[in-house]
């Protein structure tokens, strides 16, 4: 069927949900230290090292990867719809960079003051700063790429890449000025990491991600219409200005929330929606929820690879996603170019 039916919606989402559950179980079991799932299950006590490793170390990390991956996947898909550009994702557009910069500044300026607060408040404080950074960046990039009411796709990507490099440099600057080892090293912000987090972090961030993703999914039919262009969408009954504002805010909420606990993890929002479009079509009613699940699966596996491939050392997870994402971006760029040329000649 060349359109979205309820059956297809259920089939794809249930399939992905099943895949995610399997991924979480499998990746919790895998690690540098061999542990027995059965033993941990049978003796759930803190005296049992298998149980401690699984439940206190690995599971929160796998769950954090789930939350962060889901957020990156759906934010990428939504930004691609909003900007009419299949090459958009929070990392490439510099949204993650802006969020990281504001997050790190907030930590330096007021981190010690809020560190005494309950965990979820402290995380929320940093998230709020990162959210503001993400919103500011999105609006800035959008305005820059807007030329006489039309989005210039290449201006958009260029501005994003330059802005990202700029933020990276400023993060390095803040890091060297403040000798900043408060909670993470600079590598955490630049390459991303999902290490050393607890359930409070996962729960708090999970809450914001559910909020943001839910809000985006509620806009999904309107996001479909946006692919006809801003005027086309308005002529089909969409209030484009409201839709744009909501999508900006929801993606910024997602990126702001996750950047503050995982740093800049790139390319998930690029790879995942693209593969899912090949699998199940472009309709955002399916693509958005599927990108949450698919992004989660992808990042859990990427992080598992990051912590096991050169064991006992660990790679930043951003290294793994960038090594997949860089070449993938080039491939997409070429493909888009070809399609654009073809479109002009037929």
């Amino acid at each position: 069927m060349p359109y979205l039916t309820k059956r297809k919606w259920l089939l794809v989402n249930c399939g992905l949900l099943l895949g995610l559950t399997g991924t979480i179980i499998a990746c919790t079991a895998v690690g540098t230290v061999p542990v027995s799932l059965a033993h941990a299950w049978n003796v759930p006590s803190l005296d049992n090292p298998d149980y401690v490793i699984l439940v206190r170390t690995r599971l929160p990390r796998v769950l954090l990867a789930t939350v962060v991956g889901g957020a990156l996947g759906v934010a990428g898909a939504a930004l691609q719809a909003l900007l009419h550009n299949p090459l958009a994702c929070p990392h490439i557009l510099g949204v993650s960079g802006g969020a990281s910069l504001c997050g790190i500044v907030a930590l330096v300026v007021a981190g010690t003051a809020t560190a005494g607060l309950p965990g979820f408040l402290h995380i929320s404080f940093v998230s709020l700063a990162a959210f503001l950074g993400a919103t500011g960046t999105t609006v800035l990039i959008y305005r820059t790429a807007l030329n006489h009411g039309r989005l210039q796709p290449y201006a958009l990507l260029l501005t994003g890449v330059v802005f990202n490099a700029f933020c990276g440099a400023l993060i390095m600057l803040v890091n060297s000025l403040t000798d900043f080892y408060q909670s993470h090293g600079v590598l955490f912000w630049l390459m991303g990491s999902l290490a050393a987090q607890d359930y409070t972090v996962v729960g708090t961030i999970g809450f914001y991600v559910l909020l943001g993703a839910g809000w985006l999914i509620a806009q999904s039919r309107r996001l479909n219409l946006l692919s006809l262009g801003e005027e086309g969408a308005a002529q089909l009954g969409v209030d484009v200005e409201t839709l744009r504002r909501r999508t900006f805010l929801a993606t910024s909420l997602l990126v702001g929330a996750i950047v503050s606990v995982s740093g800049m993890i790139g390319f998930v929002g690029l790879i995942v929606p693209h593969l899912l479009r090949l699998l199940c079509g472009a309709d955002h009613r399916l693509l958005l929820p599927a990108s949450v699940l698919g992004g989660a699966i992808f990042l859990v596996w990427a992080d598992t690879l990051a912590r096991t491939v050169v064991s006992p050392t660990e790679l930043p997870v951003g290294v793994v996603t960038a090594m997949c994402g860089g070449p993938f971006f080039l491939y997409l760029l070429k493909k888009e170019e070809r399609r654009r040329l073809l479109g002009e000649h037929v």
Binding site: A218, S227, G237
Partner: protein, 273 residues
Amino acid sequence: MSMSEAALIACDRVSFAYGTIEALIDLSFSVAEGEILGLLGPNGSGKSTVVRLLSRVLTPHSGRVRFAGQDLETYSREELARQIAVVPQETAIELPFSVLEVVLMGRSPYLGRFGFERALDLTIAYRAMEQTGVHQLAAREIHELSGGERQRVILARALAQDPRVLLLDEPTAFLDIKHQVEVYDLVKNLSRQSGLTVVASLHDLNLAALYCDRLALLKAGRLFCLGTPEQVLTYANIKTVYETEVYIGRNDLTGKVHILPLDAETRRRLGSE
């Protein structure tokens, strides 16, 4: 009943400017139900602006646009989308939607927030695709199509909205002559059979003469003249508005006026006579 009472859609002393550039000045006209009105005028005369105002993408700076007797502003966007459909000059769709998905987008003003299309929506979409001859392309990706095919898909999407008014903004600018004629044949047919009201901006004067009931000729944002093709497409009007001389004749087969451009040599010769 006077013309203005029977009007389905009308501009009443409408003015609009893009920043400081005046695009339309004190424009008034009305279109009766089932009528085909052609908007003519040189580049930049305000044809596309009229289409944008009639579809409420733009709001007039003064004057009103009325639909079924009421100000356009009193309708919600979704309500309007069930009454008025637009076919733009060109639509660039960057994401890989299928043809059927694009046509089904025309049904969205009839669906709820999370709604999936019902069997009825599918029937209407297929009927619209058959009307524009793209039903065999239903499963193809929209990017794979040629410009002409894509435009007929967009027309099918507009018909799937089941509108009372169809606004066309130079819809056949990039089509070859066969597809141009097919599009207007279809539009005229729908107008005659189901009372569809059409407002079309056109560049091609001959197509305008062939298919439109009345023509509105715009010059620099003002209505220069309004009437039947015979009344509007005269040598004098065209010379004033387009600033060029043309040959005007009558086509024996259609009985309509037709317009042919003249080259510089002929124009010089005419001038000396």
